[in-house]
């Protein structure tokens, strides 16, 4: 049986990070423990502007249910949100608003650009549409599709969960992160 066939047959329960485990206890590095906590409790800010927003409603609905991944609580204020999900077309008029919301989000923060319009302007190569939100804010995961199916949005969320799970605690203080912020003039 091929490798992934075995993988498919044996449903992989969320495997714990590597660490020492014994009778009744499990020890892992502090970073991994914090990553595990962050990974399964991401509070998304649904920046839903157009058609991808309706597909996000389907993802939040009972059929595809984003709550299975710990993102049950949507927060519409950037103060209590870790994950900015930009779904749908972002016009140039919307640029400063998107930037303001991103800057005011609580650290550590991640960004998903859901859909072709958010990732690269999509089918609207016009004078009034911002060609991809990475011109204004740094993006962690791009989800293709117009609109992406709910499974793709959930796949994007799982990629973010991997990022959040394995992120080192010092990444946000590293020089490379500071350069990224300098590139987007976010002081």
């Amino acid at each position: 049986m091929s490798e992934n066939q075995k993988q498919i047959d044996k449903p992989s329960v969320a495997e714990p990070p590597e660490g020492v485990s014994g009778q009744g206890f499990f020890a892992t590095s502090f970073e991994k423990a914090v990553g595990l906590a962050r990974k399964n409790s991401l509070w998304p800010l649904p920046f839903a502007t157009s058609c991808c927003g309706i597909e996000f409603m389907a993802t939040m609905g009972a059929h595809y249910d984003l709550a299975r991944f710990g993102s049950e609580r949507l927060s519409f204020s950037p103060r209590q949100s870790d994950l900015l999900m930009v779904m749908g077309t972002v016009a140039k008029k919307m640029g400063p608003v998107l930037r303001e919301v991103y800057i005011q989000m609580a650290e550590p923060k991640w960004v998903i650009a859901v859909g072709a319009c958010a990732s690269s302007g999509g089918i609207f190569d016009t004078y009034s549409v911002m060609q991809g939100i990475d011109r204004v804010i740094p993006v962690d995961v791009y989800v293709p599709g117009c609109p992406p199916r709910p499974e793709q949005i959930i796949d994007g969320l799982m990629k973010i969960q991997e990022l959040a799970g394995n992120e080192s605690l010092r990444r946000r203080h590293s020089q490379e992160y500071e350069d990224l912020m300098k590139k987007y003039e976010i002081e």
Binding site: T49, I54, G61, H63, L74, T89, M94, V97, S128, V129
Partner: protein, 411 residues
């Protein structure tokens, strides 16, 4: 001084001083959970009452009409299903009918009935979102999660027919791209059997609910003459009491053979809009049943496109084996077919109202001008007048009951 204890002692607002009342501004801005889309209302508030509202829209303006001037006719269909993306098949078929009117293509009866089945399904899907979101805005979340399952089921029907869930790009100018599979028919019949029970349960959840009735009756009422002056169409106009429905007044796609009632309300408030949409969902189910009955009676189960070849791609086996079909296929795809010069206006009863297409063609491969008559853009300008003097929580409910879709608002 002796304070006389009459009952409205507190209402005199002892602290109210003589200098002019100072209102505070509240910004129900682009990223706001209650606006279900990206438009902004800066409201002058006196306590909790709204004094005046100033609207800003255009936050996802994508210049549809400019793009439409650069695309051949059949490539404009993907544009139209991003107008009102909650019920995109209606927009697609509205556009196809406009081009058929320009080219003078007569679609066979079977195509008309297939289109009616799809358009009524899309209307149900759009009303599902609007009515469940009225519930969400007045605090009843169960309705939303419960009835959204049926919209998922309609998505499955769309997938059977055209492969896409939301932005369907369904059908072609002159008919459809393929015949409906049997699986699609079984799903439609299953939907017809199960949806009425779910709809009734959803309605009993909200319609006679004391809190919901207090929150929606007489909220954002709008008189019929003002509604007509502001260009209202669709469920919002019918809620004000005017029974204008494009399917009845200017029947297209052989709607005149179907009998269905047009529900109207009395004073155009949120409860009327909710009940009009509920009743329209039932009428749409009734229309689909009649259409399926007519389709079953028809003996030919094959034709799914008009016989006029100008815009209909020849079947694949012909294209590979027959030179003329290959040339014809290439001409259609490259948009070299001859389009007559002329201008035409055609409108369709979309879920939000009369969706019109004003097409001016100068014979070239792309329209010289295409204007979309977008119902949301027209009736949303009456919003400040509807919420003046109401409380903020009522204004939020009025907005969600008008079903303003951002894609259609700033096309």
């Amino acid at each position: 001084m002796a304070i006389d204890l009459d009952t409205d002692y507190w209402d005199k607002d002892v602290v109210r001083s003589e200098e002019p009342k100072e209102y505070n501004t509240l910004n129900v801005g682009p990223t706001h959970p209650a606006t279900h889309g990206v438009f902004q209302n800066v409201m002058l508030m006196d306590g909790e009452f709204i004094v005046s509202t100033e609207q800003t829209i255009g936050y996802i303006h994508r210049a549809f009409e400019k793009i439409a001037e650069r695309r051949p006719f059949y490539q404009i269909t993907p544009l139209t299903d991003r107008l009102n993306y909650c019920s995109s098949p209606i927009n697609n078929m509205g556009w196809h009918m406009t081009v058929e009117k320009l080219l003078g293509i007569e679609t066979p009866k079977r195509v008309d009935y297939l289109r009616i089945v799809i358009m009524e399904l899309a209307r149900i899907a759009d009303h599902i979102i609007c009515n469940s979101v009225i519930g969400v805005d007045s605090g009843a979340l169960t309705g939303f999660t419960y009835i959204f399952q049926d919209r998922e089921y309609i998505y499955e029907i769309y997938e059977e027919i055209c492969g896409a869930r939301l932005t369907t790009n369904m059908g072609r100018i002159g008919g459809f791209e393929r015949n409906f599979s049997d699986k699609a028919w079984t799903k439609i019949r299953h939907f017809l059997k199960t949806f009425p029970a779910h709809l009734k349960e959803f309605e009993t959840l909200l319609a006679r609910n004391r809190i919901f009735m207090d929150r929606t009756i007489n909220v954002g009422p709008f008189p019929a003459d003002r509604a007509l002056a502001y260009g209202f169409t669709g469920p919002n106009l019918r809620a004000c009491g005017v029974d204008y429905d494009v399917r009845v007044m200017n029947p297209y796609c052989s709607y005149e053979e179907f009998d269905f009632i047009v529900p109207i309300g009395q004073n155009g408030d949120t409860y009327d809009r909710f009940m009009v949409r509920q009743e329209e969902m039932k009428q749409s189910m009734h229309i689909i049943e009649q259409a399926i009955a007519k389709l079953d009676k028809m003996e030919d189960k094959e034709t799914y496109y008009a016989s006029d070849p100008r815009f209909v791609l020849p079947p694949k086996e012909k294209v590979y084996n027959n030179m003329e079909a290959l040339i014809w296929h290439f001409k259609i795809v490259m948009g070299e077919t001859d389009i007559p010069v002329g201008e035409v206006y055609h409108c369709v009863e979309a879920a939000n109202g009369e969706l019109g297409f004003y097409l001016v063609s100068d014979g070239g491969r792309t329209p010289s001008r295409l204007h979309f008559r977008r119902p949301c853009f027209i009736f949303y300008q009456a919003y400040p007048e509807m919420v003046k003097g109401n409380m903020l929580s009522d204004a939020i409910l009025t907005m969600s009951s008008m079903n303003v879709i951002a894609g259609e608002l700033d096309a």
